[in-house]
């Protein structure tokens, strides 16, 4: 298999970045990533991303938290057997509060874990294929191609109005 090389098109204009992303597939290049200094709805729509899987992590966290909360409350109550106002040791009505709080807590944990997993973070190699200007006022479109087509990809980005930066 031919060695793969990465080229990033760096644009000052959002529309040019969107046009570049749209044109990559038809030109036979592989789109890898887009960087934007702002939350860009246009880029988001162009990428036609599938539905995020983060929600499933949140749901799993919430369900786990609900039962963990009840389990914790029951476990700690049965360790001491302190009868208060004649109430049962294991009283599900007040334990619901603990269950609810743990649902929220574990949902947040699930959400954060889901975010990290889906965004493949932490990405120790990420900075190797990054242009710091994308944290300022530029848009970056990272694409890959076979080593032999590097020049074509560079020209493609220049034609779209951007500056091409090559990564080995």
């Amino acid at each position: 298999m031919a060695a793969e090389t990465h080229v990033m098109g760096v644009f000052r204009d959002e529309g040019q970045a969107v046009a570049a992303i749209t044109g990559l597939a038809t030109a036979g290049f592989r789109f890898r990533r887009a960087h934007s200094p702002i939350p860009s709805h246009r880029i988001q729509e162009t990428l036609t991303l599938g539905k995020s899987r983060v929600g499933w992590f949140t749901l799993a966290g919430g369900i786990l938290g609900f039962f963990t909360g009840f389990a914790l409350a029951i476990f700690t109550s049965t360790q001491w057997h302190l009868v208060v106002s004649g109430k049962p040791i294991v009283s599900l009505i007040p334990f619901f509060i603990v269950g609810f709080e743990f649902t929220i807590l574990f949902s947040v944990f699930g959400n954060v874990i889901g975010l990290l997993v889906c965004a493949r973070l932490p990405d120790t190699k990420g900075l190797a294929l990054y242009d710091p200007r994308c944290s300022g006022e530029h848009f970056g479109v990272l694409a890959a191609c076979e080593s032999g087509r590097r020049g074509e990809l560079v020209n493609f980005f220049r034609e779209k109005g951007g500056e091409a930066r090559t990564f080995e």
Binding site: I93, P94, F96
Partner: protein, 409 residues
């Protein structure tokens, strides 16, 4: 009612016609007949119980649905789009609701079981003339404010050349003459919306205390009024979604109603499903901790003892557990047929919940649930009245219907 375009981009269509009014009228007539037969028969208490439950349910639906447009108005919400207009159509039930309330005066002890009881000093508050007077005045104020709010909203929706006579002229007046007047109407509309929200909370709290909680005059929960008006909004949202879904299904593709509208109001409905459960649980927890017999008997009777126990679990499942699980899903909120089914389930669940609240004091020592065919027919009769009222509003003011073409807000 946040679409303030003096001339709508395209003429709305789809006002309910004879095909809706005839069955609705038949249902209403059947319900009325069953009520009169029951009230004049051997067990008038049963008929009055069903009347009271349905009065509370359908009035709450109308009041809650109109609240939706008031809330979106004062929050300057733009997402609601054509739903604002549809919610205004429920104001058509206000006059009927007031007449039905006045009819409660003839229910006597079948509606006010505390009439001949020893009230231990509460007689000055719980006496029929005073209960009827304060709730009647409250409803008049609420409905008056509701119509004033609706009037401003309708004026903004009228096309400049739109004419009108009779009810149309009386309710809406005329379209604003210029942009400056339109702005003044908008400001007035916001004020009436705020007043409606305020009156809604006060009047529905009062009705909750007087007509539901006072059934058991020695039991009280300070949160009961808030519980009652939160439930009314939950009901109103459900009915609004049903109306929108019916229009979407009938029009085949819902040109003016997009899936995002269903998704957004579905989320609000989901939120009020949680809030209803929250208000229920908050009251339950306090009573459970306090463990005072004067308070616990109310809960024990309805949730532990037969014949009410199965009904309590049915209500909890229909109003909270099932909607909670189903509404987590995003797509189901956007499918009109699915969300229509779910909202209908919730409304029937809340109808049963009212039976659970007012049933025990009206049926002391009942061996089986006081629920049968006549109750179902009366429920359908009130449904017929609501359909007729909403249809009449939509026929009189087709501006309340979603425009034939989608409007981007």
């Amino acid at each position: 009612m946040s679409q303030h375009t003096p001339s709508p981009p395209s003429q709305p269509s789809g006002a309910p016609g004879r095909r809706v009014l005839v069955p609705a009228g038949t249902l209403a007539a059947a319900g009325l007949a069953v009520f009169f037969l029951g009230a004049a028969g051997a067990d008038p208490g049963r008929a009055w119980q069903a009347f009271l439950i349905n009065f509370l349910l359908w009035s709450s639906i109308a009041q809650g649905a109109v609240l939706f447009s008031a809330v979106t108005r004062i929050t300057r919400a733009r997402w609601s789009g054509p739903l604002d207009g549809l919610s205004g159509a429920f104001a058509g039930f206000f006059p009927l609701s007031f007449l039905l309330f006045l009819a409660l005066a003839f229910g006597g002890p079948h509606v006010f079981p505390w009439m001949h009881a020893d009230l231990h000093g509460k007689e000055s508050w719980l006496n029929v003339p005073f209960v009827l007077a304060r709730n009647g005045v409250g409803l008049l104020i609420l409905y008056g404010i509701g119509f004033m709010f609706l009037r401003q909203a309708l004026r903004l929706r009228l096309a400049p050349a739109a004419g009108g006579t009779g009810v149309r002229r009386l309710l809406a007046g005329g379209a604003p003459a210029d942009a400056a007047e339109a702005e003044r109407i908008q400001a007035r509309m916001t004020r009436w919306a705020g007043l409606y929200c305020f009156a809604f909370a006060l009047v529905l709290s009062l009705a909750g205390f007087d007509l539901v909680m006072a059934m058991d005059p020695h039991w009280y929960s300070t949160l009961f009024g808030a519980y009652h008006f939160v439930k009314a909004f939950y009901l109103g949202l459900g009915a609004l979604i049903i109306l929108a879904a019916l229009l979407a299904l009938r029009r085949g593709g819902a040109p003016g109603l997009e899936s995002r509208h269903f998704h957004d109001i579905g989320k609000l409905f989901f939120a009020f499903c949680l809030l209803w459960a929250d208000f229920f649980y908050v009251q339950l927890t306090v009573i459970w901790y306090g463990n005072i017999p004067e308070e616990t008997h109310y809960v024990i009777l309805r949730t532990v003892l037969p014949p009410w126990r199965p009904l309590a679990w049915t209500v909890f499942s229909m109003v909270f557990i099932i909607p909670f699980i189903v509404l987590i899903n995003k797509r189901i909120k956007t499918v009109p047929a699915a969300i229509l089914t779910l909202c209908s389930l919730v409304i029937v669940g809340l109808w049963l919940e009212l039976l659970l609240l007012v049933g025990p004091p009206l049926n002391h020592g009942a061996a089986e649930l006081p629920l049968g065919l006549s109750d179902a027919i009366l429920f359908l009769g009130f449904l017929g009245l609501m359909v007729m009222a909403v249809s009449a509003m939509l026929r009189t003011f087709p501006e309340l219907l979603p425009p034939a073409q989608p409007v981007r807000s």
